[in-house]
Symmetry: D3
Subunit: 318 residues, 6 copies
């Protein structure tokens, strides 16, 4: 019996560890009309795994729910090329176990409170009054949810605090590139970065663990780009902001995906919008590349990464 | 000397008629540094033609301006495969000439006032209070410009009153199709039709003759679909309308071009949005097909029509 | 034990009802070389479901065949996210059960005989002799199969009598739109609608229940558009029709899918062909949207609908 | 004064030679309302050139017509990067000049009569009675026009006798490849080659010089692929041929352009159709490559060739 | 018990035959944590099949390895629409069984030694010294691996000796087409054919049975086209060859896939490169078509063939 | 008479200034066979303009050549919507005029010598011996031409020293982003940036003024990406470098255009290649955006910029 993390599992390992129940469902086995089993998705900070408890009593069925911390004993198996955990025993964690839920989910490498401070510092650097007001109005209305929201449902930065992590990394990169491309308008760029994905909080529904369960109705019918344009419309109105400022910020939100088929009906027509688009893509890709190669040995290729156009990332020998 | 309309011109015709000056500019001839000439675009209700006045005195240059009515004498020539009018004499029209500017531009076949009445009648048929309020708020803020705005710069319904003509034809078609597809929500469909292109009035700048000179700055950076979503956002707020209603109307505006590359980042997800899209395309195409075949003889093909995917329309013998 | 329709099934329901066997096959279970089971697709008027009879004797294997009506007792289960019926007992329906096969399949909402009358009425409205003759010749050669043919294998109007239902709805819509777009040739449009999909009867092989089993060899090598052009070629010859009429009807058939990748090598060049295309798409989409939302509660989204470009249809709250 | 061919013209050459008038039109000069000039397209066997006769009397205007042979004296000029002939004197050729019109147009390198014999020889090699009959029926109905028809309006084999040249080259290539791919059905392949473009004779209108003036109405509304399918339908019927044979030949015609956007709604499903497609493309490309490099010096690139996907063909040094 | 080949298997057959183990892996059954089974891919000269040995002892697990010849007794079953062999007994083949491994894999129809001779003969026909030297240098460095390498991992010519088979068939076809298109440079064409896919030996790792296990690291990062260009670079340098020759051969390798999305960043600009591309595609397709129809009865369609754009190949009745 | 720069010209200006003759050609006027004129393209540091000298004596024709500095007197005219200079008098510049050719062309804002120093400094920062050697070998073989080569024929950085300017800006940006994305390999990234476009020097032929006249033969047949891969092959060989290093650098060159249709047959599979691609595009776009807006007034749009996907760049009011 080993106390291993999911990322370290090998076929045939016998495991005894704590996990977070991302999802649990009672099902009936294939070849019978009565045999029930519990089908789990378990996660810890290193990954996720499917698990089965083949004998499922009513007791257990009623006790174990999503988002609980449980202690599990079982064997690592392989099914259709993927590892799977066969559970022998499961109980839920108690206070005496003395474990912390944040150790079981993927979280950004910085504390949300600190990252939020960084965002506020950058807002302070915005000189244009109207741009600053609009940014502050919007950020303050989302400040609570920002603490845990991921930046996506399953792509880049799909971790607790991921949206803040994405924004702050981009802000830091932007500050440096402004030293090179000095003709850009700093105010527009910082505001654009802070606001570009803010409406994802309205588009997706996320638990406090940073796990997205579904897209909202409005998210499906309108999408975060259109929702983001409306956020700026409203914040602009309530701040009585200059028309040009509202229009430019809306243009930056509208164009930041660049391609129509990714949701941007217009292409960037100001350099700050162009820069915003590249910072966004670059940060997403650097994140996904890092994640894909994290567990590789030198000389190995990752699985296909769909968010990276389906390539296999290579971990070089040098 | 003949009093002919532009649509009837043949090579070598000697012409003496009235025209509207759509555009006039003073230029210097190719092989000299001093010889000036006036370069005109003349229109009447049947079409437009390029015209040259080779001897251009300062007097004339200062007198003749855009949007004036003029009387012209000249010969029809051909240059690079297109007819061109060589002007011998030009003067502007006086009261005694007793001509009406509306006879010189392309106008919708119904009076704007009457078409506007039709729109109001359809608004009366809308039962849902919020939908009705939003529609009324928006239509009333554009009522004046609606009287002359065309539906496009150079495609379908690019005529004075063209936007109203497009809307009312679609409303009439919708009313009939609702008898067939009875499960559709009449209120949403009528409101969607009335509002779908309303923001074109903000996207384009048109003279009172229904001639679009340019796209507005906001029109270029945002486009009428995004602008239209904001119109509904604002009208919805000011009418304190139901969130669902606002969202559905925004969804209809957002999706009415259907394809991302034509400006719709989402596809229709409710049947009324789907129907709106088809009525829009159908009416545009029926208009363009009619226009393309109007002057053809049976058995002839039109020029390539770019708004119809570049086809040559055929006028059949039966 | 409940007498429920498939559309009403919930997980764990115990069912005792009549169904139509759309398909039945004897298979051997996964982990053995001898255990046989029967794998069914059962349908009734509300939908279809996979069903398993895990103990399969030779008797039952030889008795139960496709297209039979059976009485089934069992439990509703879930497998890979889909409902599945575990059969405890099955027998076939007898005369005493007094059930009617038409109650077990999806059928058009109107009687085929009545819809056929509608088609004949529209043919009567065709003034042009040649168009009328060609239409009558073709319709009469398919009149028997028209009574049950669906309009597609699995997309829109894939129901018994679906082809007639599609045609008559389009004819009714066309009649109304001709009041708006009065310059269209009524004869061409009615004939085009009636004939546009007629060759599907040669392209697909359908049972009398309106269920398509396969595409014919000619259907695969040529397709219903090319086959339809040949139908008109032959009917035109045998009626000694005007060349222009034959060509125009062929052009309408050829172009009604509009896009090359959907089988139309040419685009509509006459307004009647353009209108035919839009009526065809519109009717298919209105049908699919209605079907997708039929069982939704307000506020819900349907599954992805592939024939609607993969969207999830939304059932609005208003 | 030199007696040069068009292909040898250089700027400033003074020319006195015979040409064929491909096209002549009377126009009025740019800066006047009365000065007429004649605008010619002149050709000889080496190419074509635009030519101007700036003083145009009524006499000359009425005498010189399309397709005449003329003797011209003039100077080679350059206008917008292209050579142009300024005509000083023009008269038409008389019997004494003793020149032959075939020396002034692009013609296939073999006599049409000989190439037609080759086609007949290949028909003799077809063993299947029905295939042979259909091929013979169609070829005999077009035998006269085949003598001069080109294979295209402006692409590959756009020369007098070009269609026959294209067919016979493909037949010769097919015969050789049948030695390699022995499992192919020779009868289908030979018939497919002979018939694949035959309907181009109905699609385009060509003069006896092999110059296509326009597409026919039916050619525009249906296209040679659909027309070709009908040819086989009719020839199949009149020969009472086997359904399978008709279907296979129609399939070959239907699929020979391979891509939907080039007019083939289905892809080849039998190896003979696949081979036909490749022989067709290969022969067209080999022709266009040869034509593009004919006048190049080693180390030079040709102009962009649109029929070769816009490449510049390179004439190598080895 | 029958001694059948895989290609002849029907459901429920009881089999006792020899097979080659393409792949074997020990797995744990779905519903248990301990039950192991062996999962095989077995092949013989007629095809491949999945097989299961449900009781797997440690002995057997350790004995049976990839690429071994085994004798198997079992029953043919069907799982998810595919045949599967349930193994009752397995042992490995001994010398007394007197079987030859070449009878169990797919091999080219000619002996590799003979095909290699053909290649050498064609090299002899190359007149240009530099082209000949480069070709010889490269061919000699790969001569050993050429004896067994296939031309692809899973597409056309994925058989032992497949690369040589592909090359020699193309050479024979080229020789014949050079009689038709006489203006082509024979030396370039022969060398281009011989070298076009040579770097596949560096791109893929193949066993001596002609079975590709994986792509090499360099193959994934660069691809055989780029690797092939480097082969010529190096062989050209070491032979001190003419720059033009090196460039032309590199151009031929670079362009032979024609489309950028298939790996060719440039399109053929010399006729020999164009011809090479067509011979390559043609030979691949003729091979795949033949393979797809081999086991069909007349009138039947094959499964979808992905390398043939997803079509179903038809075996005609004539 | 004004001493204006081309960028300041307005219609009707009378000009007397110095220009560089980018191109001069003697032509014959349109309506005559004898009248010659000189057709110029003149440039200075602010732009380029077409100019005509209508009376052209043999003297002048023989004196004025490309790349000369001339003094011109004339009038600014407009022809087909573009400004054009009618030359009254022209002479070439003499020593007394005391002008410097570098003031008449577009040059990078830093001295080439200084930028080259920057590149050398970055090479010094490369720790990996093999990467450093390969980079040094290549850079030293192109050091002379690097001093004046532009980065493109007509797109971004098409100025004297533009290639160095592009490289050094990217290096500076890379250095800053490495502080953010610390897991990247600095050595690979710096080398990749320095080498990515180096083969453009072989692909294009540029004068010492940084003006590209044409693509080289090898550039057209292979392209700078394939040529760059060969550069690394050769430098790697001669430095006896590690295979992995050669492969990784080749992979970076190969993938830096990302899309197959822009010349990259593979996509980036290591993070350094991904970063290189983004730095390249970002720097090109920031350059083109800056250039497009340089002469705009706030609130104006630029012309369509083809290298920026055809957008009109907007100069904002804030």
């Amino acid at each position: 019996m080993e106390n291993k993390k999911i990322g370290e599992f090998n076929k045939s390992d016998k495991i005894e560890s704590f996990f977070l129940v991302k999802n649990v469902e009672c099902k009936i086995t294939n070849n019978s009309t009565t045999n029930k089993y519990l089908d789990f998705t378990l996660i810890d900070s290193t990954g996720e795994i499917n698990a089965k408890l083949w004998e499922c009593t009513n007791d257990i069925e009623n006790l174990i729910k999503d988002n609980m911390l449980v202690k599990v004993r079982g064997v690592v198996n392989e099914y259709r090329g993927k590892l799977q955990l066969k559970i022998d025993k499961v109980r839920f964690a108690t206070e005496e176990d003395n474990i912390n839920i944040d150790d079981f989910i993927l979280v950004a490498p910085y504390k949300s409170e600190d990252m939020f401070e960084v965002v506020l510092d950058f807002i302070d650097k915005i000189g244009n009054k109207d741009i600053k007001n609009i940014t502050e109005t919007i950020i303050s209305s989302f400040s609570e949810k920002l603490m845990h929201y991921p930046a996506a449902k399953s792509n880049h930065h799909a971790i607790k605090g991921g949206l803040l992590y994405h924004i702050t990394t981009m802000l830091n990169a932007a500050e440096r590139l402004l030293e090179i491309y000095t003709y850009l308008n700093k105010d527009l760029l910082y505001a654009g970065i802070i606001l570009h994905d803010m409406a994802k909080i309205e588009e997706m529904e996320s638990s406090e663990l940073g796990i997205v369960s579904r897209y909202s109705t409005e998210g499906q019918l309108l999408g975060h780009i259109t929702q983001g344009v409306s956020l700026i419309e409203n914040a602009g109105m309530s701040n009585n902001a200059d028309k040009e400022v509202i229009m430019l910020l809306q243009h930056m939100i509208l164009t930041h995906h660049y391609e129509p088929e990714y949701g941007s009906p217009k292409k960037p027509m100001i350099p700050e919008a162009e820069m915003l688009h590249h910072l966004d893509v670059l940060d997403a890709r650097m994140y996904d590349m890092k994640k894909a190669t994290k567990d590789l040995k030198p000389g190995e290729f990752s699985e296909k990464v769909y968010s990276l156009d389906g390539i296999n990332v290579y971990k070089s020998l040098i």
